[in-house]
Amino acid sequence: MTPLSHGLPRPAATTGPVPAGRDPAGSGPKARPAATAAPPPRRSPRRGREALSGWLFVAPALALFLLMGLYTVGYGFLLSFAQWNGFAPHWTWVGVQNYKDLLWANPLYAPRVRNAAAHTLYVMVAVPLLTVAVSFPLAVLLNSARRMQSLLRSVYFVPYVTSGIAVFFAWQYILQPDGAVNTLLKSLGLGSLAQPQGWLGNPHTALPTMIVVTVWLAVPVAMLLYLTGLQGIDRSVLEAAQLDGAGWWRTNASVVWPLLRPITLVVVLLNLRDSLQGFQTFLVMTNGGPGDHTNVLGLEAYRLAFLKDLAPTLGVASALGWLLFAAALVLALVNLRLLRSRT
């Protein structure tokens, strides 16, 4: 029950706190008609104070929600139909021109958005697939580990805990022409695979490399979700499969994998959303480069909003944000349909 309940008149019979499932009169449900028959209580000053106290406690959350939630969303939506730099005293209304500019009308925005959309789509396909491909087997292996399971779980969770600017910079150093990846490849006699311009400097390897880094960041949470699912599977189901002659591979492929399909859908959805809207890794590690070979839609929206030196592009950035929201909404609906049909 929410604290808002304080303001509601309570039945006269309940004069004190009643623990769940217990009736102080010992008469059980039979006592209720008598209580309901009693006249409704008058709102005493004490209850008014209680109501006020309740409202005061929820006021910060409510104010923040109204300010940060409803107001911001509404403000952002209106802004997507205007031209503004964040400081000018008035907005210039442009109707749907911002959307048209982004999609086809303005050579300054449309080609970049199309290019970024292609990269984003690539990331949206690759990241969820690779995350599932890595985290599911990892979780199965970790679940079957007899020793040091907690330690291994912590080790595999480290990327998630340590994520941040420092990690992105560390990755940059690792991927440089004279970085650890190239050095390792050369020391293993695989120098032909090394990238002389660095893994982020070659336009052909830059986006795949960014995908690998993104997957590296996404695997810990996905693995934890799978691990939770694995520990919830009834052992008798697995034993029945084994009694029927299913080996380790067959059990995991035909029993465990289908049982964890709802978790797979959640993992896919979370990573789709991150791939669609996330851009921090790209901002820090490549800033969309080299050239614009790793530019993604989230980064483009951020660039339009904050890195245009007070040009009136906040409206265009907001419009791009709403286009991203529309795409995310479609994805969520598809995912919901899949969840309903497969579970």
Partner: protein
Amino acid sequence: MRIPFAAPSARTLPRSTGRRRRTGFAAAAVVTALSLAPIVACGGSSGSSGGGKTLEMWTFKQSHVAGLRAAAAQFAKQTGITVKIQAYGPDDAYTTKVQAAAKTHNLPDVLEVHSDGEDLALGAAGIATDISGDVGSDWSGLFQKGVQSSGTVTAERYKESLPSDSKSHGVKQGQRFSVPFTSGTFGIVFGNKAKLAAAGITRPPASYEQWLADLKATKAKDGASGGVSLGLKVRATGLTWVLQPLAFSLLGTDGYHALFGQDPATDFASAAGREVLSLYDRLQPYWMPGTQVLDIDAADQAFAQGKSDWDIGGTFTLAFLQQNGMNPDDVMAFGIPGPAAGAVPKPALGPLALTGLTVASTSSHRAEAEKWMRFLSQPSVASAFAKAATEVPATELGPDATQVMGPTLAGMTKTFEGTPQTTYDPSDSSFRAPGYDQDSMSDILADLTPLAQKGVAPTAKAMAELNDSFWKNAKK
């Protein structure tokens, strides 16, 4: 279910429970007040620094801090006004910081800004104060001739501000939002003297072709570090620091301007345009590996660490190199040389104001702030600052300049010397389409070199098409 805080009737409760309720009520009120306090504070801050004779100044150049603090100490002695200097960097972070501070009314009194761009945009946004009424000829006369009107909305800049999507839309002709502080130019090549000498190079190249030969020599001497670094992660560096000066020296002023015009016979897709791109593409074998993912500071750092024998920057780069442990005397510096058969084989690189000083519109100490800015413009103060920061000051230092700035920095200023016909003017953008975006052009150029994804002809065609679309868009 137990209802939180839904206490039994007061009559059935001991007195202490009633007190607890009152305490809870008070706690709720305090929690609410404290929670809402930051929200209220966001909208109500009074602005600049607190004390009556204390000013606050922000800069985005860490290398300027020591020189500014030394000047501030001298200023405090003379006037009793304390100036607190704070640096925030890199540039993008500074821009965001200033915008955020403007929104929360927490701006300092004085800001160091990029001249003739950021200052006007801040003026248009109401963040910078119009100081045109206070900067007379006695003040602007202290600056070098080429930068005396920096920060002013000239007729040309006013024209550029007219489109509604211009960054400076809303400014009025004659307004002034900054005074110049440092000057210099882009397109300066730095060479590591010791490494160059090892490859048999002891003097700056006389032409672009000779520079390419020098690059070949250093690359042959040391394949790993013999190349040239340039912060190409900042997209426009290749276009504005290298290609444009090259185009100017190959084609002359008119031919260079025509590249950005609307005539297909002279734009980037023309024979002249393709020749410029071919010339630029000849740098391809000599880039430092990975320079395309380095920002400007990281590229300069790579040079200072010996990872590249050459570095392309501006006059301001020397200060950064010194900060990173390089002795300016160990560096050979020269402007991007022109092609021997070009229209301007010995081009000069026109100086421009690089940074300026502006008064925040929220400052309640405008007079003191202007006094501080004027103090920094004095030749004696500018000299001391130039020495401390290894920068070219906007103030005219006269014949003492070489002695004050040191031989390397003074040598760089020699690249400024030329006639109007032989001087590349990086600040002139009057010939480009309104709404021209150099970053988009630079993305196409990057595919030519260093990324080697496209040849000269497709690059020329793509740049011409984009340029053409800017003109078409401007006519809508």
